[in-house]
Assembly symmetry: C2
């Protein structure tokens, strides 16, 4: 079995505005040290999928970004439009199938942070084994808090592995829960965060598309005949015009009966917000996480990220302060997830000109 | 009687950091429209003291600033060190006395905001009349709130003027009061804010120095003999090395028995803080005063001053956010007066390098 990594590089960059922008979204900025999350994702899987077996799926508008970051044209599939994860995964599967019909693919979002690489690779190996017996394998993450921002996977009988790393039947997928339900999920131990990482044989996922999205699979097969030809780009555009915008969870995983879950024995964070990001950095005694040339007096639980100049905090609490390029955000930490609304207000105030 | 204006341009620029800096203090920045407070002060008094009869007293370190702002060397006295108001006023009086022994001087801090110019000039005329009979005249401002940040002048019998503009005996000077005392002062109607503006004959203030600071007056007289000579700068440095650092209120006004007060019929603000400044600008419906390219969502009673880029506020209240040059301040509005402490912390954190 040959393993291929499919690294999904979509994502618009709103959540970390103004550090992330439309032209430089989260997965390409250096949130942690000298490497972007995309680079870290690529390096993390490299022992199982070396560079030659890594395929990146990115929006066409990121082509300059990808080129500047050193990704070679033949390793990147550019989507002409954003259509959520199902079309992206289908497209990658079709390309891999053409190259290697026996391929097994590891689907990895580019913007997740996993620090325990050894445990991550062990989990991928276990998942690949399950995929070898025809399973569509998802990675479930042990929840560390009753988060209402994730979907959950309910797991059943153990079918592989042992100790901290086990494979399970899947009893069902659950939408983002309310707070009480989330608490119940976490207490039960049987519900895992649905991480958006998957392993399956290319042939099996295409078969699942045939069952659950037959129209899309037919269009995909048609597109496949043009890969490498002069009409490839035109056919790709045609494929995407007709493709539904849908996640792989809705389109396939919730319907298929050959689904399994690996209970991931590694740390995992999709770093979906400034407070989530700040958890990965040391705080001062007052709970402030200060990045850049920052000073805080009588200030508590603030998050500052400044790419220039000096920042002084005085008597403030629970703020997120981000200075990046020409823009500055000052938000109450619990409200920072609403930055999209602020961006809309800003665009409206300036005749539609976006600050993203 | 010839009136001369003495405009005091000291002040270090800490309160409005980072918009004001050591090299560009409050009185030289354009807080209100296209003119600095110093320019506004000069223009306000010009009908009574035209440019040729205006003398600026500034710290020597501001010489570049003064030159760039167009002030001519012969109209500026540069103090070799900061020694509070008494030495500055004594020095100006000595210079004026040499030029015109009959001079009457109007002492005006450069950083006060007065918008009713007509009432201001009327008050100066009334004060000049009182000065003509040998009084040392201070301007008292009708308090608009029980402010604990000002000293107060207790006034007695009316001795000149009528209606909104009257001159009074002074019953005493009071230090910055506590809150209860300030309320009592304001309720009584007899206590006025001690504004730091004065009118007196040069001969009279020098006589007061002779009585209350005889050592300084002797040094001043000695310095006076070197004015215009090659040793002037060296003698000035010598004068200031020995001069006590003391305000004219402590040194003279609280001790003299020929003091009068003009109850000023004009608006007055020494603009001592960001909240004080913000009172002069229109607020949005949520009470935010936003200067620069700013947007506020679900934010109330914030003050933003940004000289570049875009600023977004999200879910915050009662903040002062100042972006100026390379520096950014985010402060809780009631704490912003403590910016000096923050500056000390910042300097300590960087081996003494000041951000002021």
């Amino acid at each position: 079995m040959r393993l291929y990594a499919v690294i999904l590089c979509g994502g618009r960059g709103e959540r970390f505005w103004p550090k992330s922008r439309r032209g430089l979204p989260k997965q390409f900025i250096r949130l942690f040290g000298p490497k972007s999350l995309t680079e870290q994702t690529s390096e993390r899987i490299a022992p199982l999928c070396p560079a030659g077996r890594q395929l990146f799926v990115a929006p066409a508008e990121f082509s300059g970004l990808m080129r500047r970051a050193g990704y070679r044209r033949q390793n990147v599939i550019y989507e002409p439009a954003g259509r959520n994860t199902a079309p992206a995964i289908g497209l990658a599967a079709a390309c891999l199938h053409r190259r290697d019909p026996e391929a097994t693919m590891v689907v990895l979002p580019a913007d997740h942070l996993i620090e325990d690489r050894r445990a991550f690779l062990a989990a991928v190996r276990l998942a690949a084994g399950l995929a070898g017996s025809g399973k569509l394998v998802t990675f479930g993450v042990m929840p560390t808090r009753p988060d209402t921002g994730y979907g959950y996977v309910q797991v059943g009988k153990r079918i592989a592995g042992r100790g901290r790393l086990t494979g399970h039947d899947v009893l069902g997928f659950r939408e983002k829960p309310d707070s009480a339900t989330a608490k119940r999920y976490v207490a039960s131990g049987d519900y895992l965060w649905n991480s958006g990482m998957f392993v399956w044989r290319v042939a099996d996922i295409l078969e699942a598309f045939r069952r659950f999205m037959p129209g899309f699979l037919a269009a995909l097969a048609r597109f496949g005949r043009h890969i490498g030809g002069s009409s490839e780009q035109a056919e790709l555009a045609r494929l995407y015009r007709a493709a539904p915008s849908i996640s792989i969870d809705y389109a396939v995983m919730e319907k298929a009966d050959n689904v399994a879950a690996v209970r991931a024995g590694f740390d995992w964070d999709d770093v979906g917000s400034w407070p989530a990001l700040a958890r990965h950095f040391p705080a001062d005694r007052q709970g402030n996480v200060l990045r850049g040339d920052c000073f805080a007096l009588d200030s508590t639980r603030c998050i500052v990220d400044s790419d220039q100049g000096v920042v002084g905090l005085l008597g403030v609490s629970d703020l997120v302060v981000v200075r990046s390029g020409d823009a500055l955000l000052v938000a109450r930490a619990p409200d920072v997830g609403r930055v999209k609304e602020l961006l809309k207000l800003m665009a409206a105030g300036r005749g539609g000109r976006s600050y993203l």
